[in-house]
Symmetry: C2
Subunit: 282 residues, 2 copies
DNA sequence: AAATAATGAAAATAATTTTCACCAGGAGGT
DNA sequence: ACCTCCTGGTGAAAATTATTTTCATTATTT
């Protein structure tokens, strides 16, 4: 079952003029439409109730009510996000608001992440002889997590979270290497330096950042963007980091699915090796 | 504006018996209710339309229709996004399904995480002289991330992700220490051993796990549960790890908000120290 | 036993869907 | 070119369905 907004866009061409007006109004006022009676929507969109019903049917819904529910289900409840964390919040309330932030940030990232760039990054990683992931401070954990994932796949991956080692490692990369730099702000000088050094040896450089106009972007062959507001108390850009994690996870999963025999064995062996660490299988 | 399901739970006590039946039915059949006429819901829940409307009003909605929209908006469309990842999916499609999984898992965790235990854990961490976080394999990155957060707060925190060191460190903890063990399965023997050793010195033990009936639970003073299905290709329990991250983030944020002068200075100093690593301030 | 709260049946209202008549534009025949 | 006969889109109004309100009844409490 496809998403509501998608269905509207996909069928836009086949719509009649009056139906187009309805589609336009809905696309412009997603949120509002979820709590609008059909007759009001008819007036607001310059159409009639009957046409709205036909419109809904044409898109594959049972009727307007059905479409509306679909719409509500897919709109990141812009209204309900009052994620301001205050000092009076209990720890649990904070958790609550946090996960809301994270969800929003993930779905926002989905809208700024370029599928093409993501695919390029993935393919580069699959083909690389060596993968180095640079991340400092907040991003160090992400880098390590990513390296861990790739190692499981039998890839020659390595996290580099030490700014002394970074320069050394970066300068030894060659054209068959991929250097991935993670920096939320896109301004971490050490990471940028590492990518520049990597470029000297003709490694493919990939960055993951939140800011499209940051210096790291101009030093990267492939750019993967996250999107998170990081308004509140996040000195630690929590939600953007989750977005970063999700990106690596998608890459990892893709590679798992397209792995050849050898890689699958690598995964299998890892699992077997870890089994002995558990008291029982789950 | 609070979430629909929460409002139902929060006001559950104040409901009449018939309204409770409605609440029960909605909580058990969230998804279905979004596309159910009020009269059918009345029959299914063993109540009447009038009571449902009253019930909706009492929860702060304009009427049943309003409640239903709220519900639809907050149910991570379990049905619509069929998160089955297939080999034909592009990397971006995988990303898409992944973030859906993560969202679902986060909101599920919100429903199993005990606010009391979370608060206990937080308070223990705030008061501790020493905090050690044990995590191996998948969980190592989480442990490091958490330690990193606490360090920024000026807390004496340390991640221990090496199973040789774990035993050594654990056996040196005392009653003013907090030992936190992270294990998705709750069965990682090394982590359980570490917590047991920690307990000998009377440290407070905290676990984070997905399984309430796992051995780690009986070796912990405080238990924090995540909930994620981890159906698909997740050898790496991705979404539960995000839930773990979110838990630590909530704890961290709470402590930030309740930090005394000294701690705030610690944060400030950290930020200042890091400034020099950036080409410009963001 | 009176007051209060909760409930359901039925009436009233509101929203949605269906029906139907109309119109515009196109295809094919004269 | 002109006339039909279609077709598909549209809106007005009727029919249906859903929701909300009213009100009488039944529990529960004081």
């Amino acid at each position: 079952m496809e998403s509501t907004l998608h269905r509207i866009r996909a069928n836009y061409g086949k719509l009649g003029p009056s139906e187009k007006k309805i589609a336009d109004y809905i696309l412009k006022n997603e949120q509002q439409v979820t709590s609008l009676p059909i007759n009001e929507l008819a007036v607001l969109s310059g159409s009639t109730a009957a046409t709205i019903v036909r419109f809904s049917r044409r898109l594959g819904f049972k009727g307007f009510t059905d479409l509306r529910i679909g719409l509500a289900g897919e709109i990141i409840s812009t209204s309900s996000i009052n994620s301001k964390i205050t000092k009076n919040d209990s720890c649990f309330e904070i958790f609550n608001k946090r996960i809301n932030d994270i969800s929003v940030s993930l779905w926002n990232t989905e809208s700024v992440l370029d599928p093409k760039q993501l695919e390029l990054a993935t393919k580069s990683i699959m083909k690389a002889n060596r993968i180095v992931i640079f991340g400092l401070g907040n991003s160090a954990a992400i880098a390590q997590d990513a390296a861990h994932k790739f190692l499981r796949l039998g890839l020659n991956a390595q996290a580099c979270t030490d700014n002394h080692l970074q320069a050394i490692i970066a300068s030894h990369l060659d054209r068959n290497s991929v250097a991935i730099g993670i920096s939320h702000s896109g301004e971490s000088t050490d990471i940028i330096d590492a990518l520049q050094l990597s470029k000297i040896g003709n490694a493919t450089t990939v960055c993951i950042t939140n800011y499209a106009n940051s210096p790291i972007v101009s030093n990267s062959d492939i750019c993967l963007f996250t999107k998170s507001d990081e308004t509140s108390h996040s000195i630690l850009a929590m939600s953007s980091r989750i977005a970063q994690l999700a990106i690596f996870d998608a890459i990892y999963t893709y590679i798992v699915l397209h792995a050849d025999k050898a890689s699958i064995n690598a995964i299998y062996n890892t699992e077997t090796a870890l089994k002995s660490k558990k008291t029982a299988g789950r």
